[in-house]
């Protein structure tokens, strides 16, 4: 029933006080601003860098008292961000584009997953290695993701009508019980679960077949960007530091996650595998050169093309790099 010690306000205030003593910057402890950070899913090493930032006091050094709100099946990210209950949320370029089309004043201020994590998972005995392999197969997915599959098909000259779409819940059971030949899922969750359970599986990352779409993007409202700039810069700065530590030792990030959330029922082995598998999605030559979270006019242009295939017409205005530019000076 009680909150883990490291998530309480007192912990942050204590570490914040410690931060004053140790850092030359000397941020006064009483200035800690409360900030709510809305994650896109249940706690897991998917957000490992953020947990490191919290544990090591990177945010308290910035004068922020950040609480991490987890998501869930019925906890969409956009409502708390649009209503100001959360300062920043984790979204994805397509979700953000849709929300903006519905009137939400969002901007993408940083990009955690440079490569989109969507993948086609199949059993190794009956693999899908290329988009052409999808022809004549049954794919299990949420029908809401049909535009995603359609975009992949268009990019690779496959007729979507040659694929049988089976509406399934988001879990690996339909593939394992052979109700379907493949699943549309994230590279880092269901395939990892199958591997840990001893089910030999193969994944085809959609990003390797032209599906360029930023994921795990940080979104904030135009109002926040204009009026709470310092808080945003501090939050993203902590994120960058946390994720830099993460990539240096993903096993440690996985173990931290398991320890921080004893009530989440996390399996250390699964978390370690997931932690390692999301590294190639989040870190690239671009981030090595410019820093975590970065995006360029070129990557934005590629995203705009993919979004057009998804039926979303957006301009480069959806992205705002000014916060990152202050972070990575």
């Amino acid at each position: 029933m009680t909150q883990p010690a490291h998530l309480t306000r007192r912990f942050f205030l204590q570490t914040s006080a410690a931060g004053v003593a140790t850092t030359a910057a000397g941020v006064p402890a009483f200035a800690a601003t409360s900030v709510n950070f809305q994650l896109s899913w249940l706690h897991s090493v998917q957000f490992g860098g953020s947990y490191i930032a919290a544990q090591k006091g990177y945010w308290t050094d910035q004068g922020l008292d950040v609480s991490l709100s987890q998501g869930g099946p019925n906890a969409p990210v956009e409502p708390p961000v649009v209503s100001g209950a959360a300062l920043v949320g984790i979204s994805a370029a397509d979700y953000t584009a849709a929300a903006v089309a519905e009137g939400a004043p969002f901007k993408i201020i940083a990009v955690a997953m440079q490569k989109n994590p969507f993948a086609i998972a199949s059993l190794t005995a009956n693999p899908v290695n290329t988009p052409a392999d999808l022809v004549g197969r049954r794919i299990g997915m949420a029908v809401a993701n049909t535009p995603v599959l359609q975009a992949l098909c268009t990019l690779n000259n496959v007729d979507i009508n040659d694929i049988e779409i089976v509406p399934t819940q988001y879990d690996p059971a339909p593939l394992v019980s052979r109700q379907v030949d493949c699943l549309l899922c994230w590279e880092t969750d269901l395939p990892v679960a199958m591997t840990v359970q001893g089910v030999d599986n193969t994944t085809m990352l959609m990003a390797d077949h032209g599906y360029a779409l930023h994921s795990q993007t940080y979104i904030a409202t135009e109002d926040a960007i204009a009026n709470r700039r310092a808080d945003l810069v501090g939050l993203i700065k902590g994120e960058v530091m946390g994720w830099n530590d993460y990539v240096a030792d993903t096993d440690a990030a996985a173990m931290l996650t398991v320890e921080m959330f004893p009530d989440a029922g996390l399996d250390p082995q699964t978390q370690k595998l997931q932690a390692a598998r999301q590294v190639p999605l989040m870190f690239s030559d671009l981030t090595d050169e410019k820093g975590f979270g970065w995006f360029t006019e070129e990557t934005v242009a590629e995203n705009i093309e993919t979004l057009a295939l998804l039926g979303r017409d957006v301009s480069a205005d959806l992205w705002d790099r000014s916060i990152l530019e202050e972070v990575h000076v």
Binding site: G72, P76, E78, E102, V143, S177
Partner: protein, 510 residues
């Protein structure tokens, strides 16, 4: 002796379960009892904390939800003129699906247990209210006449006559509530809760951890069965009297003029729209996700949107109708069967309670695997989701048979069948119709869940798509149209009910 025999039966079933699965080694979806026991012993502390969290939230939801039902029921009985409006409002609130209410509750309550408790309360207030209203009316006409002769008002009648008569039905409501509150608290955790059995279930499903999934399902079922049994025991102790014969003259047909009805309907609709607008404004909910009546109206006046919505609705209704009928038939049929063969009752009840207490995301994949994604599969899943209230209510209704009538049938050497057909089923009718009304919104919510999980068609998919498209206009239009359908079907069932009960239980017609 019977306890020993029951224990032996359970052990035998577990051994068979274990052996069958050992012979099917590649079955990853169904766990062996020993593997489940292993998971439980390795994670005992985690499971204990999660169970406590979910149970406490469910208990608060149970208390608040049933309290709301009792207050509403009392108001409706004391001021009969308020009944139509209040019951329409209760129905409409019940019709709002989690996908629409979840984000609103989370923004209103912030982190914490508020949404879980609220959703548990919302899951129980409606069924209890309907059961309670039947009970408050299950009084002999002679008693109410007597009260009237002595010039006693409705409050006095409520306290001295109706309250006591309502007890068996109130306990039906509470029994239906026990697993429903637990499920509501679990589903409420999907709105971003940090801990609890719902969170663990979600993770186990995605992690293909079938030992954990089964352990959690069995644990949830066990808690629900225990709570159900406890209320049953309490009910039998507190309702310390036998059912009596309710003599009531067949009611005369009292048709109100069509004009009056239209005016009444218009007023209720206006009130609903006003409350919708005012409550969202009062809490200053952002228009992005909390759509007002005006937004929905603007959205559905667009022909393209309207066509999408209506064709999805047609698909949904074509699945909902067979599911609704199958659920009612299953519930009532099972209740009747158990009267014919009481021995079956003890064996079936835990399964029935379990099916009600385990989240559909756990049961649906297995049901879909067994019955497919076609009409049969979806009908089965919907029927499983809604049969329970009917089953419990009908079972209680059958028990309302006064002993003298049973004695009469016995003395004429009438068979069980004859007794069931000529006496018990008529006695069950008020409870059956109450559950048929309860099942209307439940079936619509169930079918949209099935559409999201298994068929990929209909209004359920339009609503589920909101998660990625932020098309909250579509979501709230779906909510509005489902609510309208629920009200219409409810009214139709109620009309049928009045026609039947006019003959069999006229005391129910106020």
């Amino acid at each position: 002796m019977t306890t020993l025999r029951r224990v032996l039966w359970v052990c035998a079933a577990l051994v068979v379960w274990e052996c069958v699965l050992r012979m099917l080694p590649d079955s990853l979806l169904i766990s062996r009892p020993l593997a489940i026991a292993g998971y439980v012993s390795n994670n005992a502390a985690l499971l204990a904390r999660a169970t406590l969290e979910t149970s406490v939230n469910a208990a608060w939801g149970f208390v608040w939800g049933n309290l709301a039902a009792v207050v509403l029921g009392t108001i409706m009985t004391v001021f009969p003129s308020s009944e139509r409006t209040l019951s329409a409002l209760s129905l409409l609130v019940f019709c709002v699906p989690l996908i629409a209410s979840g984000p609103i509750l989370r923004v209103l309550f912030g982190p914490g247990v508020g949404p879980q408790i609220t959703l548990a309360a919302l899951a129980v207030y409606y069924t209890t209210l309907l059961a309670l209203l039947v009970g408050l009316r299950a009084v002999s006409q002679s008693w109410t006449d007597l009260m009237r002769i002595y010039d006693r008002g409705p409050v006095s009648t409520l306290i001295r006559v109706r309250a006591r008569a309502s007890l068996p039905y109130l306990f039906v409501g509470l029994q239906i509530s026990a697993p429903a509150a637990f499920l509501g608290a679990m589903i409420g955790e999907f709105t971003g809760a940090e801990r609890g059995l719902g969170v663990l279930t979600l993770r186990a499903m995605r992690g293909l951890d079938s030992d954990a999934t089964w352990a959690l399902a069995l644990l949830s079922a066990l808690i629900a069965v225990t709570a159900y049994g406890l209320i049953d025991w309490l009910g039998q102790r507190m309702v310390g009297y036998r059912p009596v014969i309710l003599l009531s003259a067949p009611a005369a047909s009292t048709r109100r003029s069509t004009g009056m009805r239209l005016i009444e309907m218009g007023c209720t609709t206006a009130l609903v729209l006003l409350l919708w607008q005012v409550s969202m404004d009062a809490f200053d909910l952002n228009r992005f996700f909390a759509k007002r009546p005006g937004d929905v109206w603007a959205f559905i006046t667009d022909a393209e949107n309207r066509n999408t919505l209506l064709s999805a609705l047609a698909e949904t209704l074509s699945f909902a109708a067979p599911g609704y009928l199958a659920g009612l038939a299953l519930g009532a049929g099972l209740a009747a069967l158990l009267v014919l063969s009481p021995a079956l009752s003890r064996a079936t009840m835990p399964v029935a309670v379990a099916l009600r207490a385990v989240p559909i995301i756990t049961t649906a994949p297995l049901l879909v695997l067994a019955f497919g994604r076609g009409l049969i599969g979806t009908t089965v899943v919907v029927a499983v989701m809604i049969f329970f209230p009917t089953f419990v209510a009908c079972q209680q209704g059958l028990r309302q048979m006064p002993g003298q009538i049973v004695d009469l049938f016995r003395s004429y050497d009438a068979g069980r069948w004859h007794l069931l057909r000529a006496a018990q089923i008529p006695a069950m009718l008020p409870a059956f119709f109450a559950s048929a009304r309860m099942a209307v919104p439940a079936a619509l919510l169930a079918v949209t869940t099935v559409e999201w999980l298994a068929t990929g068609k209909g209004v359920g998919v339009l609503m589920a798509m909101t998660a990625s498209t932020s098309n909250y206009n579509m979501l709230w239009s779906c909510v509005a149209i489902l609510a309208a359908v629920a009200v219409a079907v409810y009214a139709a069932v109620a009309a049928l009910e009045r026609a039947v009960l006019r003959v069999y239980a006229s005391e129910q017609l106020s």
